[in-house]
Every structure is written in C-alpha cells, then in structure tokens.
Symmetry: C2
Subunit: 344 residues, 2 copies
Amino acid sequence: MEERLDTAEEKRGRITIHDVAAAAGISISTASKALNDTGRMGLETRERVKRIAAEIGYRPNALARGLLSKRSFTIGLLTNDTYGRFTLPVMAGISDALVDHGVSVFLCAIEEDPELGQIHVEAMLDKQVDGIIATGKRLDRRLPVDLSNLNVPVVYAFTEGAPGSVTFRSDDAQGAQLAVEWLVKLGRKRIVHVTGPESFFSVRERADAYSKVAGEERPVLFGVWSESWGHEAVARLWSGGGERPDGIFCGNDQIARGVIDALRERGIRVPQDVSVVGFDNWEIVAAQTRPPLTTVDMELKELGRQAGLTVLALAEGRPVEPGIRKLPCRLVVRQSCGGDTLGI
Amino acid sequence: MEERLDTAEEKRGRITIHDVAAAAGISISTASKALNDTGRMGLETRERVKRIAAEIGYRPNALARGLLSKRSFTIGLLTNDTYGRFTLPVMAGISDALVDHGVSVFLCAIEEDPELGQIHVEAMLDKQVDGIIATGKRLDRRLPVDLSNLNVPVVYAFTEGAPGSVTFRSDDAQGAQLAVEWLVKLGRKRIVHVTGPESFFSVRERADAYSKVAGEERPVLFGVWSESWGHEAVARLWSGGGERPDGIFCGNDQIARGVIDALRERGIRVPQDVSVVGFDNWEIVAAQTRPPLTTVDMELKELGRQAGLTVLALAEGRPVEPGIRKLPCRLVVRQSCGGDTLGI
DNA sequence: CACGGTTGAGAAAACCTTTTCCCACTTGAC
DNA sequence: GTCAAGTGGGAAAAGGTTTTCTCAACCGTG
C-alpha cells in the first residue's frame, strides 16, 4: 500500500499536487480539497492526504494559486528614505503583521528619482502585488511617484498621502506634549525648544504643542537637523545675558546630542542643572549620549503594523475608512532629564 | 479598421494578451510572439501589435509568465541585521543591479529567530524566488536558518556562507592596511589600534593587517563596539606615564567618535596632535564627528551589486565559481587625520 | 505543371491550482 | 422495490502566458 513515487522527488523541479494525488491514489481535485479543507470527503481521506503531502514535502506553488485567485500574497513597500532610519522600523512592523497571513514584502528604495519610482511601481504591478505601502522620511512630502489610480490599494505611512487615501502618521503634537509635560513635571520652569527647519510640518506641529504646554512666550529656536546646530543653539542661549534655561526640548535626537555635548563642554551638568529631552528615539544616538537620552518614540513599528493590516484589509475588499490616522507617541525615559529613578 | 475594444479597459481587472490580440485582430500566439520578438512574422504586423499593446496599456502578468518559465524575476534577501546598518547599503546595491533585469527583492528581517527564518524562507520558496541572498551584520556568523539544500541558488553577502557556496565579503585586511598606511604617510610614528572584541573575525583580521604595517610591537586595545570604549581607551592611553600616540586607528566609527570626543575633552587637538581614522564610513557618525572622520568604507553597495548579479547568473544557469570573494575597501578622507587638503 | 521551400499565422498544450459542476453510490423512508 | 436525499470523489474549466506544432498560401525552380 505504501505506493510512493520515488520519481516525484527526483524529477528536477518542485513537487506538485499531482505528485500528492498520485501518491495518495486519488485525483488532484480531491487532493486540493483535502489540503484546503474545502469540499466534502471522508475525514480519513482528508487526513491521509494531508499526511502524505507533508511526507513528500509538498508546498503549493504560489504563482499558480495567485493566477487563479488574483491574490499574490505580496505587497510592495516604496520608500525614499535611503538610509532606512524610518523605513526599517516601519518595514519590521509591516512584516511582523503580515507574515502570519503569508504575505511577503517587496522593498523598493526609489531615492528621489521619479523614473526609478515608476519602474519599481510597474515591476510591482506586473508581479500582481495585492497592495502598496508608501513610506518616506518626512510627513509633509509626497513620494516622487504617482500612485493615484492604480487599481491596487495604496496606504501611506509616515509620508504625505493622496487626498481620499488612508494615511498613518505619528501624533507629533501629542509626542511633544508628552516631552514638555515631563519637563514640567520635573519642576523645570525655564524651558526652551531647539528644533529643525520651520519648513517641516512636524517641526511646526511640535513647536505649537510645546508652546501650549510651556507657555506661548517661551522661546523656540529653529535651525537644522544636526548636532552642530545643537552646539550653536547652546552657545546662543548661554552667550547673551538673558535667562539660562533649565530644560531643553530638542526637535530630534541629533540636536539633543549636540546640546548635551555643548552643555558638558561648558561644565553644565545634565540632568542636574539642565534637563534635555529629544525626539525620535534613534537608539544609536539616544543610547550613546552621556547621559543616555530621554526621548520621544514615534512607535514606527506599530505604525507599520497597522499600515500592513490596513492594506491587507483593502486587498481583501474589506471596507476601510479613508483619512489620516495619528498614532500616539511614547516617552522613553533614560537619564538626561532626571526622574528616571523616580518611577513617576 | 480601428477596431479597439472599449470593453477591454472597463472590464474590471487587468488587460491581458487576449485584449491585445482582439484589438489587433490576430491570435494570442501571434500577439505573444510579436511582443517578445520571437517567431516569424511580418515586420509590419509586429510593429502594429506592439503599438496597439502600448496604446491599450498592456502589461504581461508576471505570475502567468513565471508559472511557465519557472522564473519569477524575484529574489529574496534574508538578513538578521535589524537595524539595517549593513543591510541597507547591500540592499541598495542588489536592487540597483537587478532592477534593469526586472527583478524585485523580497526583504525578510529574521532577527535571530530560527523559526521566523524558516517561515520566511518557506514563504519565499512558495513564491518561487529565483534565488536567495543571505546577509547579516557579522562576517563570521551564520544566519540562524538552514539554506543548504534548497534547489534555488543561494549567495552570501557580508555573512558567513555554507561551504561550497559563493560568498562576498569586504577585504578587511586591505581596508585596515589602507588606514594605517595613510597614518604612516602622514608621518605618524606612534600609532595604536583601538578596536572591538577579539572574538570577531574581522577584528582579528584588521588587527593583523595593522600589525603588519605599523609594526608587530605596536599596541592593540581590544574592547567593545561603543563610544564609551573609545573614551576609556583614551583615558587608558593618556593615564600611564608611557608614550603618547600620535595616530589612532579605530575598529569602527563609533569607537573613533568616542576617541575624538575624549581627546577634545583633554585639550588634545585632532588632527594637529593626533590623527584618528575609523572604519565603516557610517555617514551618520563619521560626518557628525568634530572634525569629520577619515574612515574606511567597505563598499557594501558594490558588494550587494555583485551578489545580485551572481545570484542572477546562478538562476539563469550560468556557471559561477564557488568560494569567498573579497572586495576592496576604500579610504574616505575627511579631516580627522589631516592630509585632506594635500591632494595626496 | 508539379514540387520543395519559405513565410505568416493560428491551434493547442503546458505550467499548477482551485472551483464548479457532475456522477455514482449508499442510506433510509415509503 | 422505488425514490429522494445525502455522500464521496472525479472531470474539466479557468487563470494568462509561452512554445511547439501544424497548416495554408505563396514563391521560384526544374
């Protein structure tokens, strides 16, 4: 009765459902139904087919399956964030959410090149992706590629979406609020905000939230996203004869790092004399500052997870409310503010 | 004569070769041959079919094509480098090399989880990837997943490969040599090497190359891959009564950053008093040090490019010599060593 | 005029699955 | 003993493409 096809595995190429059917002495239709838990058949037959399939190492060909079902169990992730600082956590979240559903992710880094973007999008469409997630490095900029009437669902994550689309982004205002409230809670009174270029939407949003909590009259220093700007800002703050801050909310971790270094160089102690809080929770920067940086995490992985589930829902035809979804940030307490041993 | 099917584009779903054939008034076989430049037919027919296909926006379905040709024009990139520091440049290189060939890349981050790795590999095989590239964050460690008898080609890049496979890696010895020779050329005599854990193969390799150039008696300080170790190493070097170095070759850029910061804190000028050279050319670190860091670039993008072309060659059945291919590193001259204005 | 060779194009098989019928058989009720 | 209903399983089509084979028409040559 053990009628296994020795040739099946030797025959160069994959094991198909025909091999399973032959090995079980049934037709391929029955084999298919047995393996997919569809159709009617004896429980015993079903079990036997499954067992045999497992034994000979059968795995269904996703291409053939996709041809029929119009689902490729594949999605595309488009990004212009070359360095992957934002994209990688997003990607991790997407993959994490979709791997259980058997979905794999094409990653396409398109830089700022519209032509390259076009090529990648077409390649993905040819491969019948079930959907596309667009992500980037800036909330208020579009990717240099048109994703508008694509006949596959598109979801935007951490980049500006087309009108009428569904977009996921971090709630920067809430994140900033978290940071400033923390400084206030620690008793800081003379708080300032050192941040990036005012042209960034998230800069303005964070600055507004800061003003709401710290007070409209508290100063905001706009600059660039670099450590050296952090240095310069400290120089500026401590050079004049004005009030000396006791709390600095920085627009990102790199600026915070510059600020902390500059303060140390001036003999000002962090966090005893001045509390510093950053934004991004970019581990590589935040964990290496001295002292390690208290900062705001944008929960990009969760953002990716939700974007993944959403594009899947759209691909399956489930209805999804369009609009912008803001996901809350989280404050990561390390030692640059104090309060880390308080258990507040 | 203009007999275009208005319905073709309206019919929900993609435009198929049937639509092209119908629009051109020919059979699908002829259409296929016209579009693929195969078979025999009148030049005029060929051109006309191509024109019509373009007009109605026909794009071949890669799933159907792959089913027949056994080529999916898809490869998988497996990595355990969560943060993407090494993976992203490699990925960029692969993508760059393969996009012209119509190949897309599945990215799978598997952390250190063998089960997750297994799941992703199976998902990729189900999707009939033409090949797999394994990459990681360490030259002397395997990915936590078995890629040995997979019936698709596997290429290793920046991670340890299976015996008999083809593996691409950076030539760390040559890179280290480049760095130390640069210090020597600048007239530095009292060179030391501050590097990572001796358990890393590349650490030993770089250290050996350093010893060959600088002299066997020159000191090597093993530690960890962090800025704080850079600080500590400087403290150690400057605390005793011994000789003070005038050139420091660091095992990576983070250590170099720590070293430079520590030197500045002691009032030692870089590069006037001490030249510092790093390893990795991790832009985000190397460009933000003060002064910007002269460092060794491992050319990971080129490495990815070659890995991509190799796995493609294997997928197409072209013969490839197995073995380990070492790719040369490149010295990136910034200002931490001096010599940057010499044009040497 | 008969015939081999060329040219242009189509029919059909193949790739691997899933799904929709459809058929034969069993069971129980009347 | 006949019928209806239910059960287990198979044949075949469909999905979009490529490729092999076949066929008809046409050409020139002997």
